[in-house]
């Protein structure tokens, strides 16, 4: 059992997400940074898609009621286990009644707390992810609160030791990335050509500031208003995380894990699948720049990401084999 010690963290149980139900309006939910979720799970010897606690850039304290192997991965938040500082993006054993304190991160946003055995909340529509708007899945369909007790699967003796990973913001940095500014690669979307020439140019040249009104549903961006060449009356169409919509005369919104499944605003671009984690980890108030790519470049980026994921798996297997 793990006990949650804080209110107001907005933390929730998430796995990879709930797929196959968008046709009836149920979006995927799931980890905002699926790459960090995968790393956290692999570090504790879980399947890559097991359920973990997603901490959205807020402080959180938990108590491990029993001895467990855990990992905290993602935003690079400072954390202490019974007052002892932890390495970022690492796994450690915790003894029974140990207290983990996660601080507010400074460079990233979403952190994942994985436990050997995974969190055993009920599977609803094929997933343990919390559907916050629908109030189902996860732990009672809601964010975690003080006093919540979360069960996890049986601990396994072969997951042990203390070791960590180099974060992807280091290993997979893009040219121009700097503190407070992240680059993400974007394919022009269906209505791109319907935007005015100046608005299309502004889309690529602006350092878009992520508004404080951003959350798991989407990131709202602050910058110049984007205009259509001529107003467009659109039928509602399908949406998925990464789609960037821009209401005529408004600013872009990047749809993310809790996005609605359909919408009627024009789509100006789509963040490539390999870069969704970059969006999720960009802190509120920091800037995003969109880099135009074509489909072949998107495929190449996916191959680079997959090679890095394979490297991480090998490193974790090596550390475990050495009994680190």
């Amino acid at each position: 059992m793990i006990e949650i010690l804080d209110d107001d963290s907005q933390a929730s149980i998430q796995d990879r997400g709930r797929f196959g139900w968008r046709a009836i309006g149920v979006g995927s939910s799931g980890a905002m940074d699926a790459l960090a979720l995968e790393r956290a799970n692999l570090l504790v010897g879980n399947a890559a898609d097991a359920a973990a606690i997603e901490i959205p850039g807020t402080p959180l304290r938990v108590r491990f009621r029993t001895a467990v192997q855990f990992a905290l991965v993602g935003a690079g938040a400072a954390a202490k286990l019974d007052g002892r500082e932890l390495l970022p993006d690492s796994t450690s054993p915790a003894h029974a009644d140990a207290e983990l304190q996660v601080e507010r991160p400074s460079v990233g946003t979403y952190s994942y707390l994985a436990i050997r055995g995974g969190f055993e909340v009920p599977v609803v529509l094929g997933s343990r992810s919390t559907h916050l708007r629908g109030v189902f899945g996860g732990h009672e369909g809601r964010v975690l609160a003080r006093g919540d007790l979360l069960a996890h699967g049986p601990a396994n003796a072969d997951a042990k030791g203390v070791f960590g990973l180099t974060p992807p913001r280091t290993t997979l940095a893009l040219p121009g990335d700097a503190p407070g500014i992240a680059h993400v690669r974007v394919l022009p979307a269906a209505e791109y050509d319907r935007f005015a020439h100046a608005s299309r140019a502004a889309f690529w040249t602006t350092a878009w500031k992520i508004s404080a009104q951003s959350n798991r549903s989407g990131y709202r961006l602050i910058g110049p208003n984007l205009d259509l060449e001529t107003p467009l009356e659109m039928r509602s169409h399908g949406l998925l995380p990464g789609v960037i919509q821009a209401p005529n005369g408004g600013t872009p919104i990047i749809q993310l894990a809790d996005a609605f499944t359909a919408g009627g605003y024009p789509k100006i671009g789509t963040v490539i699948a390999a870069d969704l984690w970059r969006v999720a980890q960009a802190p509120l108030g920091s800037a995003l720049r969109f880099v135009q790519v074509d489909y072949a470049a998107a495929r190449a980026a996916q191959a680079v990401l997959d090679a890095d994921r394979a490297r991480v798996r090998m490193w974790i297997d090596l550390c475990r084999g050495l009994g680190a």
């Binding site: 269906a190 359909a262 495929r299």
Partner: protein, 242 residues
Amino acid sequence: MALPAAFRIRPCGDAALTVEFGDTVDPDLNAQVLGLDADVAAAKLPGVVETIPTYRSLFVQYDPVAADFASLSQALQSLAENAKPHAASGRCWRIPVVYGGEMGFDLEDVARTHGMSPSEIAKRHQAATYRIYMIGFTPGFAYLGGLDQSIATPRRAAPRAVTPPGAIMIGGVQACVQCQAAPSGWHVLGRTPMRNFLPSREPMFLMAPGDNVRFHAIELRDWPALERDAARGLPVAELVSA
């Protein structure tokens, strides 16, 4: 025999594409979309994660590691060329609605816009038979076509941050049955106690694309009992043949 509908396949990022049939709200186009959706499900194409049938297009999400745009669009092309339109379900939902007042707080504004009385708007809203074109936006939200054009109303300039569960709304030429509270720029004419999506109920969903919908007015005093029934899992709406 009707010729297969014209369609085009367009990418949506590197993990999704759309098969688009025309650009209008048309039951025949929607039947093509639903027919293709059924064929895609049956074909179990490698890499397809999920689909969203919409008014006039099929949205297909795929795993960019297991599939690519060229091979997937080729497979969809041959399915779409041979797809049979989805046969009408023959089902019609009679949905109870409390119109106006606190349940339909935009009814009077909409009436003013059209120079009609609120009861005339409600009457015209109830006179039509609607088709469910798609379910989406939020769990169980049903997008309807078939709104009487004399009461079609452009969306609100400023969307509301929250509209209530069960809101019966119109926006432009579209109409809807909302299930869960959500932001919206549509006009709230009334509210139904019916819950199209209830995770604790079997079946979890009641209405499907291709079904028909009709509305009938109920009194505010009938609301509490019907809402209790709906929370217990009763359909509240009546299922009749179309």
